[in-house]
């Protein structure tokens, strides 16, 4: 039987913690509820939940990717959910590699942006890159 366990609903506060399959694909350890910090031990093998979630102790090894409270409101903030990766690790070195050019050598986004960079129908960073 396939036990997916994509959503961990907290038994104490009913928060829905989304254990996104990519980082949790092969995972064994603790995660925690984004609202009440209850720790849960879970184990996934090739995307299938093979044990847990059971209430645990210690510290969280990996936070949920996203969470909603019982009213459906998103929960964010440091220590609550896992921040999105700023750049994907290079498959060979394992280090994060900031991409600034496409594989054919033309400029792409790939730099940290601020709010004002994203107002409007054309990203300022791309417009600036085309000027240089």
């Amino acid at each position: 039987m396939i036990n997916q366990g994509l959503v961990l609903t907290c038994t104490k506060c009913s928060t829905k913690n989304f254990l996104d399959p990519y980082p949790f694909w092969n995972f064994s350890g603790n995660t925690k509820c984004a609202t009440c910090d209850t720790l849960y031990a879970v184990k996934f093998v090739k995307g299938q939940q093979v044990s847990g979630p059971t209430v645990s102790s210690g510290k969280a090894d990996l936070l949920p990717g996203y969470a909603e409270d019982k009213n459906g409101a998103g929960i964010a903030g440091e220590g609550k959910i896992r921040p999105a990766p700023q750049a994907r690790p290079d498959p060979f070195s394992g280090k994060q590699k900031q991409i600034t050019q496409s594989v054919r050598g033309k400029p792409v986004s790939g730099r940290p942006v601020k709010k004002e960079d994203l107002v409007g129908s054309r990203a300022r960073v791309i417009a600036d890159l085309h000027k240089t």
């Binding site: 990519y22 999105a84 400029p107 986004s109 129908s121 054309r122 791309i126």
Partner: protein, 448 residues
């Protein structure tokens, strides 16, 4: 009188995708509201956008629709989510179903949103939404409500199971649609080779459903613009759409009571006509572990003379004698023997080695290509099926182009997508007359 060019030259000049931006767009002037999520609804709207319709995608404020968060590789530095969360990213799954659209944000639950939607619907030709049955009616945004302010509105609702009936009140997904619609009953391994159903990796029920719905929209626009002057309410069921694809499965069952079975990568009606494994990697020196995997190739030799040639190539002339007649070859137990012999022969070869040998013998074949191999094919690049686009938000992007060509009004890809709410000022200012301060006020209140 000038000589007509040969067909290839004629087509290449007529359909050159590099000239597309100098030609008119067939749906220019039509406006579409896309209140859609995941792939089913978004792909319907995006097909219209590729043909030139002005498609306005409306998403939840701040974090947008769920598809932005459904797949991995959401790198904020490459695909930032929104101005409110520039540190968060959009997943690559959002590609493919949202090109050419304008992106605004709106919280449908708020009273201000209902008024804004009524005003937008009054100025719109088509609305597409794929929420659960009755959700938009409950919010006062159904066809019953919008057709009063705009009787010419074509309202396309895409749902899982339809708007009525005992099985309607569930959420549906592509995989559920394929399971309930009957697809998994015939896709997957044969009973004696595991027997497990196989999910199609691409969200086929969604992309196919979106295309069917787009055809329905065009039919309704034809009815409105050339016959009646009236709008239409359209319902598309994802599950029934899958059932529509089942070929002869239902007539077979209805006539003989025979349930069509899974048959893996072979064919129940033709042999040889299937995919075999080749034992060697095409990239033995690659450092990329993905490229260490073995290859696969399609082989088709179901005619007697082709099968005989195939047996000669693999050095199994006895098979050509034993299974000289197709009626014998196609029997389930014999297919296993034949395909096992083919794979044993291909065990020390790459898919390219096999293709070379089969080409030499005049036997139809095609190595199974991955994304890298498709991307590198000159045929694809020349025809614009794979193209680089200069995306105004994300820069240089490798993207699939439209699959069809139109000589006078070609479809085109202008951009892949934009962050949540990127066009709030443009759309709300231009269509609803909102001032800068009102937009700021709505943003502050998280209505947009």
């Amino acid at each position: 009188m000038a000589t007509a060019p040969d067909f290839e030259t004629y087509c290449q000049e007529l359909f050159d995708h590099k000239t597309a931006f100098g030609k008119p767009e067939v749906l220019k002037g039509y406006r579409v509201l896309s209140c859609t999520q995941y792939i089913l609804g978004p792909s319907c709207a995006s097909y219209l956008a590729e043909l030139g319709a002005e498609v306005i995608k409306i998403e939840a404020p701040r974090r947008g629709e769920p598809m932005r968060h459904t797949t991995p590789f959401n790198e904020p530095l490459l695909y930032p989510l929104s101005r409110w969360a520039p540190e968060a990213g959009t997943g690559l799954g959002f590609f493919g179903a949202n090109p050419n659209e304008e992106f605004v944000s709106l919280d449908f639950h708020r009273p201000e949103a209902k008024q804004a939607m009524l005003e937008l619907a009054a100025k719109t030709d088509v609305m597409v939404q794929n929420y659960r049955p009755g959700t938009f009616d409950r919010w006062g945004m159904g066809y019953q409500h919008f057709s009063k302010v705009n009787p010419r509105l074509v309202y396309q609702w895409l749902g899982g199971f339809g708007g009525w009936g005992p099985g309607r009140v569930r959420a549906s997904y592509d995989i559920l649609g394929q399971a309930q619609g009957g697809c998994f009953g015939i896709t997957g391994e044969a009973a004696d080779r595991g027997g497990t159903p196989s999910k199609h990796t691409i969200w086929l029920a969604d992309y196919w459903g979106g295309m069917m719905a787009a055809v329905q929209v065009l039919a309704a626009l034809y009815w409105r613009d050339t016959v009646s002057g009236q709008g239409t309410f359209i319902e598309y069921s994802q599950v029934h759409g899958v059932t529509r694809m089942l070929e002869y499965s239902l007539p077979l069952y209805g006539r003989y009571g025979v349930r069509r079975e899974r048959w893996g990568n072979w064919d129940t009606e033709l042999c040889v006509h299937g995919i075999i494994q080749c034992g060697k990697s095409s990239y033995p020196d690659s450092k990329n572990p993905q490229e260490a995997e073995v290859g696969y190739i399609l082989v088709s030799a179901h005619h007697d003379e082709d099968f005989k040639k195939l047996c000669d190539v693999i050095g199994k002339k006895d098979l050509a004698t034993t299974y000289a007649k197709h009626d014998d070859r196609v029997k389930a137990e014999n297919q296993g023997t034949i395909y096992d012999a083919l794979e044993a022969w291909a065990k020390d070869k790459t898919k390219e080695d096999v293709a070379t040998l089969l080409d030499k013998a005049g036997i139809l074949n095609q190595p199974v290509w991955n994304a890298k191999e498709v991307s590198e094919q000159p045929h694809w690049k020349l025809r614009g099926a794979v193209q680089w686009i200069d995306d105004p938000m994300f820069g240089d992007l490798h993207h699939q182009g439209p699959a069809f060509k139109m000589s006078e009004t070609p479809p085109r890809i202008k951009w892949a997508f934009k962050p949540v709410g990127a066009d709030n000022e443009k759309v709300y200012g231009r269509l609803l007359g909102w001032s800068k301060s009102k937009i700021a006020q709505m943003e502050e209140a998280e209505v947009i």
